[in-house]
Symmetry: D2
């Protein structure tokens, strides 16, 4: 049985285990006040070309999203996002639990537009009873989105421009950031992202780390006292160097993008195999998640040898499914799947 359920099925990149082994008996202070965290922050600031950025490490994505959002917003403020945004659908309403509404915008492909965002802001500004509604005060987007799509450079620039005109921060969820950057369809670099976003995070969990997300505040007015929020939200790892060591490794010798590249190559091979057989796709994804629409009986057949998620009802006979590749996906697994697709 080969699994394509998610991009967090395996442990971590061997280089990371190696680094943990080598550093295991070092004695360092806790809570991220250690040399590995310091070094990893420098490596990240170099990579993004923002020497004055403020970098923090957290353990997981939901924790990161809610800590950033709740830290920035005032109590009566809300965050604008896509209806399909991770914070709106798969984080057990952690944002609401921390007191903020998700103003969820309709989206087909997981992306929202500058025009949609501006519309919300204009409507609120012009509402004479505006204080009876939550104040939109932040934009959250995912790059890549939950549907595997990525924003074009022009789209991102337009969103960033609206945010700056209205003086609200743009927060980019990069849980799968590397899988976006490593895509041949991607028009932006890490440096571009650092310029366009006010705060974003670089996902580790889904891209070869045991766990860990690196939050980057390029607008450092937003990060004042952020360590209080990390601790209060239960995100301050006692042995914080685990995070530093992992990001040191990921940002050395181009490992982060190289690991992501494996996922893209494998995903495209799978995509092409389904396309060659004439199967349509639920979303056009240039990243590590592929969503072919298959007849239900073929799904049942494939599941004898492979595991993967159902993603959406299409019609009584067809379902969209998700094949997810990662830094760890092997040739063997993909070859086996391709062979099976060939037989369909």
């Amino acid at each position: 049985m080969f699994r394509f359920d998610s991009d967090y099925l395996e442990g971590c990149l061997p280089e990371i285990l190696q680094a943990l082994q080598e550093t295991n008996f070092e004695q360092t202070l806790g809570y991220g006040m250690d040399p590995h965290c310091a070094h990893a922050k420098e490596l990240i600031k170099d990579a993004i070309g923002a020497p004055d950025a403020d970098v923090h490490f957290l353990v997981g994505g939901t924790q990161t999203n809610v800590t950033v959002i709740a830290h920035i917003l005032r109590p009566y403020q809300a965050v604008i996002c896509a209806e399909s945004g991770h914070i709106n659908v798969h984080e057990t309403m952690a944002v609401e639990h921390n007191g903020h509404k998700c103003i969820a915008l309709p989206t087909g492909n997981g992306k929202i537009s500058a025009a949609q965002i501006e519309h919300v802001l204009v409507e609120h500004r012009d509402d004479y009873s505006k204080e009876h509604t939550a104040q939109p005060a932040m934009v959250y987007i995912s790059f890549p989105t939950e549907k595997g799509t990525i924003y074009s450079k022009a789209e991102l620039e337009a969103i960033s421009k609206v945010c700056r005109e209205w003086n609200i921060p743009l927060f980019v969820d990069g849980a799968r950031l590397g899988y976006g950057l490593a895509s041949p369809a991607c028009e932006i670099t890490l440096q571009d992202l650092a310029k366009l976003a006010d705060v974003f995070y670089i996902g580790g969990t889904k891209q070869g780390a045991l766990f860990g997300e690196a939050v980057v505040f390029t607008d450092t007015r937003l990060s004042k006292d952020f360590r209080y929020s990390i601790k209060m939200n239960g995100g301050m790892l006692a042995k914080g160097r685990m995070l530093g060591i992992q990001f040191e490794t990921l940002f050395t010798d181009g490992i982060y993008i190289r690991a992501a590249k494996n996922a893209i190559d494998k995903a495209f091979a799978i995509r092409d195999a389904f396309a060659a057989k004439g199967f349509p796709f639920f979303a056009e994804s240039p990243t590590n998640q592929q969503f072919p629409i298959l007849p239900n009986e073929l799904i049942a057949e494939l599941r004898k040898k492979f595991s993967f998620e159902s993603w959406g009802f299409v019609d009584d006979g067809h379902t969209a499914v998700r094949f997810c590749t990662s830094w760890a996906t092997t040739d063997e697994a993909v070859d086996s799947l391709l062979a099976e697709i060939g037989k369909l």
Copy 2:
């Protein structure tokens, strides 16, 4: 330089790194739904002698405390604890941030008594305007306490009895549980604790794991839907098996207690060396934290070769300091310290 600042200075037990290495390329489902977590839960239930308990794994202590407390309490309810309790002083008010007051009781040695708890409950019951005050509805104690002390069996039984008479749960913070159980002064077993507490956790972070705390609900009415609370509070690790693998290791071949025993032996050697020189102690600790009161100039002298925390002002010339040992404390470090103490 040898460090005695805390019990989370190093990485993890070699057995854990070994297990991570061996399992690294297994493919398992995320979020704790994997065979390692299942196995670790069985090992823990065996160890505590409570086959019907409900076990969950979280990443860190603050996260665990707040998730358990906020899951159990209704919105207008408060938790009774010691003034020096970790939730009251060192968790950036995470409990209050989740909407609940800590009713903090005075304590010298870190412990609170059944009589103190009952007094709070009686006062509240008899207050005719009681709904103008937070309702005490849970008791939180630490075992060992933040001052290194441990409850006697009689003390714990009395607290448990009050809680059951008043029908409120007893929650035991076991961030350093092993260091309590491994102490020669300890009168209770893990099985006793499971009988006396309604929910408690077994600390991994401070006792040889990279991270991880195992929450045990022996009163399973309290744990209904607990996974929602874990996720909502940002505590559900994507690669949840990391927790399972670590607790599998800790609860195999008696490693958990054996690792703790090292800390106790080392702590007692340090304690005895200071005592032999006639220094008094801030608290009588039978566990891995020792609090000698030293003249400030000797502290400065010791700090040339060792790091350790200042714990409390005593008088203008003296300060209480903390020497903390752990599963990882070496003979070399302790011998070096003993030699230095001998010279004082």
Copy 3:
């Protein structure tokens, strides 16, 4: 200038002022522990035919909604409502601020259906990663809705049935309850509502009181310790008898419905006048809010003599507006408006 902006433009029914005058120098205990509150509760329980119900008085609607919802739900639970529900759009996200998501269902006329509700519950139950999403655990509907519509008896019964099958409470926001009950189109009585809902409130603010909402728990398991929640949420009026006196008055001699009837009669006169001129309506409302769609120039013309709210964009030349009547709307105001409509 006559105002039709809302149903809280004036002070209160003269009978209420009279009662306040007569009781002004009585000395009573605070916080609702006075004879007037006790008497008003009895009158309400008689009126609804539920002698065992638990009745509480709060000051305003938003406060009532959030206090009831936050009291009932556990931290990870969400409330199902209409997209246009007051809690979802006009309460500055008070529900989210208290930690709960509004699962907002699409609606044209302000109503949601039993089938929509059941769909949410089924989807959640069948979601294998359900703990990654908020748990739907309560239904909130408004009677009448924010669009002036009312549920038929069959619709309400179906919703109630789904709620009971799934064991989740049905909460009915009755901010304008009297305006619903007094409508000739209404198929239910107060007694019916008490049977079908688990908790509901009887609005005072919009129906002749200075302020005040009477919350009725017919499922008294839900109201345990509710006074703690009232106080904690800032809703416990010190001079609580003000609420008791007002509801005593409203529930004596049929004043509550009689006052509402005036609004209905006036609203229908306005509706009929617009309809006679051939104007369409944004929503078919049998209650005190009427939503004619008018050409923008006519709106400007009418606004010279009357004030009323714009309710929704229809097209470049037309806007839906709202004329709101109340217990206090005078013949003079309506006659003046009808005369003006006649001239359009």
Copy 4:
């Protein structure tokens, strides 16, 4: 039976009922956007000598405290107060429910000192693990305190000075402000208070209004978007003019202080009568609350004709009790009490 239980036993000043009567059928917009609120704000700004202050009206004290505190603090910040402060003991932990800790300082007479406050701030600043603790960021004091005492001008100036040096706001709870200002022992004026505090409120509920508290922000940076917070916390009264009309009345012709003066005169008569009989007092109060310590049998005797609260256990034979006077306390009630005291 005459009652001395509290200062909210009666309805309101006749002038207020009169004003409600006269304005009853005016049509005004809701939520405080009416001419009466505007006028009342001007009257208050004149009275405090702060033309640029920002004034808002809320319904009750708990609501006011929590709305102000939660509006100002960032999520990880805490409020410094007296252990006996109303927010710490009698508001069902509304502050904690909104996510903030009360850092409660010991006090005998209900007051805290500048030195105590500064100590907290210094300790926090110097704590190298400060982000593990809540950040003290605001000071809350009551004037008069819950024990009837009032700060001297020098005490208030010292507290204000510390707050400004540390750049944290000073919030003064004035639920009984008039009873302080009207005391012959009071060294400050309303204008002084406006200069020394950054935000304070002028209590209406306990001083002759049906309900209502006027919040004054003299530091208007703190009040940005405050109406959102009022609405979100359920404190925005639909018929907001009720608040405007009441404060218009209270701040016309010196009614506010004149009404308070009655309470002081009556309280002093009671105080002097007990003192003449040689009874000691629990606290030296120069305001409308008096706390004689009486033998339990005399208390029982007095309770046959008068109601009043027990305030604190003194010894097995004695209890401190509270006699509370108000704007409404009559000569008849006091004469009757004095006669009874005379017989003791």
